[in-house]
Symmetry: C2
Subunit: 333 residues, 2 copies
DNA sequence: GCTGGCAATCGGTATCATCGAGTGCCAGCG
DNA sequence: CGCTGGCACTCGATGATACCGATTGCCAGC
């Protein structure tokens, strides 16, 4: 463990590096930091911190830069732990959720944008899964002679739709029969694992019913976890190397990578993942700050992605507040 | 108008500049181009082309770069006008549409990715509007004591949903009555402008019916034109200035800008917009190649966005083929 | 009207010296 | 014993300089 002075110096280095993106010199720390010691002393301490892996040194005559380990210590020992949001920002969040209404999709999309604005990072918002939801309504609608759309409304307000391509042509009457049969027997049961449905006494209708049930059950599981990305363009200003920008943006376009990134972070109970800590190689220069939110039916996640030298207190506070208000909003409805 | 030799020189300059991104020298044109003239002659012609605004000159001892006007001439006088796609790429397109099935949203999303892969540009795919679609099914589902979800299935297979927040609590029976009433009277009419519905004799039910009709009509018009962006990350490699990358990406995040960009291009019947031709200032260094596609109900657009020095024949061919196959796919279903 | 020849232009690169912000180390001080 | 001031040393950044080479513009001649 680091003694208090080393910790203070490390904190000062990280703080200044986050602000300036320049290697931090001992002189600056001695002056800016509130510890009353000479630059020489700071230098000695810095040398130790470097030996222990908290800092690095681009070249001899340069200041220090934090390593991932350095950032990790910093976020684990913040003096202002969750730190509330600045009033102006708090107000923005309140306004956002007061104004927001209507479809879940739009809400989540806009929330991503909000979070990105608040943190100057790219924002990621996953949509809650529907595994735990129950069916409020099931309906089949004929679109063509062999194409039927299965539409289900879930208890959480989501609408699941699946196109069924049938093997043979069916009459409108049979579609209606199957639809009514499904509605009668499935309403109220969970989407993921709904109860058996008795036969209607008609093979064709039964076939359609079975196919619809299969499609809905599939939708519950295999549907690619939806994730909304906001403010990806900010990544263009956060990195020097255009090549890094490209890689990071490319990752953000791969939904499943983003989703598993968020899920992993949450599974390991890490609200903050720094640099190499999350396993995604191209994001080695990035940190991720996440928070779960609750919808009543199933858990989901909000988070931001930024450079390792992002403003952690700000990001943590913003993510926390947004996830909290989002939970509130979704549970009251 | 340009005489044939000037045109050939201009073409050669544009072609080489697109490949190399370097100012093109008279010597290269004389050598590479199939015209049997000396560099000096080419120089003289180039000087004229510059005076007429087709080329520019970074500095005295540098080669020439095409202006927007130069590119415009190039695309308007392509020797290989629409030029079919390379076989390998053609195959990719076929595979894509053969494999693609299921929801329209996923199809369009994946098509954006395909188009981006084919052209190395960012791809844009708008979803068809629902103004012309008719209602196949309308249904109300109670989600809470004062919250009702209106779900409509359209003739084009789309599902429109709107949350209704009621002024007073309603019974399940009334919701069912309103739902049945709507289904009975609206099925078959156009979404945008559906016929009047007679009273049910119950004020509360009538209110709900009216509110649902209003919400659906609104959805037809005000629903923000959905647009799918694919491969935005490619823009990171296409520009030198990180600041340009940022601006372009930021534009791509603003759906309504993208939508109006596409619509404007199409309205003016310009399949290719070069540099400043489309009015969006931050995209001055970009070109847009679009093509309409047909869904049967209403027109929509696919397009790509790339640097002005993009591969126009390739982009035009890819966009054309994809829009054509997309139309086919959507009209057969 | 085309061409070869030639001076002039100008960015890019390499070289070099210089500057200054930093560090590392050491001797001395409290 | 820990802290400090002093000092030599390091090394990137900056700027001046020269030079090279690619390229143009122009002109005289074919």
């Amino acid at each position: 463990m680091l003694d208090e002075r080393k910790a203070a110096i490390l904190r000062a280095v990280v703080k200044e590096y986050i602000e300036t993106a320049q290697p931090v010199a001992s002189g600056h720390v001695a002056r800016a930091g509130q510890l009353a010691v000479s630059p020489a002393t700071v230098r000695n301490e810095m040398a130790v911190l470097e030996r222990e892996g908290y800092l690095v040194h681009p070249h001899t005559s340069a200041g220090r830069i934090p390593t991932d380990k350095g950032y990790r210590f910093y976020v684990d020992h913040l003096r202002t732990p969750p730190g509330p949001l600045a009033p102006a920002q708090k107000r923005r969040v309140e306004e956002h959720f007061a104004r927001a209404h209507g479809e879940l999709e739009r809400l989540l999309h806009d929330t991503g944008r909000l979070l990105s604005d608040l943190t100057d990072c790219a924002a990621m918002v996953t949509a809650p899964g529907h595994v735990a939801a129950t069916l409020r309504s099931v309906q089949l609608v004929a679109l063509g002679p062999r194409v039927v759309l299965a539409v289900a409304v879930l208890s959480d307000g989501a609408v699941v739709k699946e196109t069924l391509e049938l093997d043979l042509e069916v009459t409108d009457a049979r579609v209606a029969a199957a639809s009514a049969h499904l509605a009668a027997h499935l309403t109220g049961s969970p989407l993921a694992n709904h109860s058996d449905v008795p036969s209607t006494g008609d093979d064709v209708t039964d076939g359609m019913v079975a196919q619809a049930r299969r499609a809905l059950a599939d939708a519950a599981h295999t549907e690619p976890e939806q994730v909304y990305i906001g403010g990806a363009s900010r990544m263009a200003s956060t990195f020097e190397a255009i090549h890094t920008v490209r890689e990071v943006l490319s990752i953000l376009e791969q939904q499943y990578v983003v989703v598993s990134l968020l899920q992993d972070a949450l599974r390991h109970d890490k609200l903050v993942s720094i640099g190499a800590e999350h396993g995604v190689e191209p994001l080695a220069e990035c940190s991720v700050v996440v928070a779960p939110y609750e919808t009543g039916t199933s858990p989901a996640t909000v988070g931001v992605l930024g450079p390792t030298r992002m403003n952690y207190p700000q990001a943590m506070a913003a993510v926390a507040v947004v996830s909290e208000r989002l939970s509130q909003r979704l549970q009251e409805g």
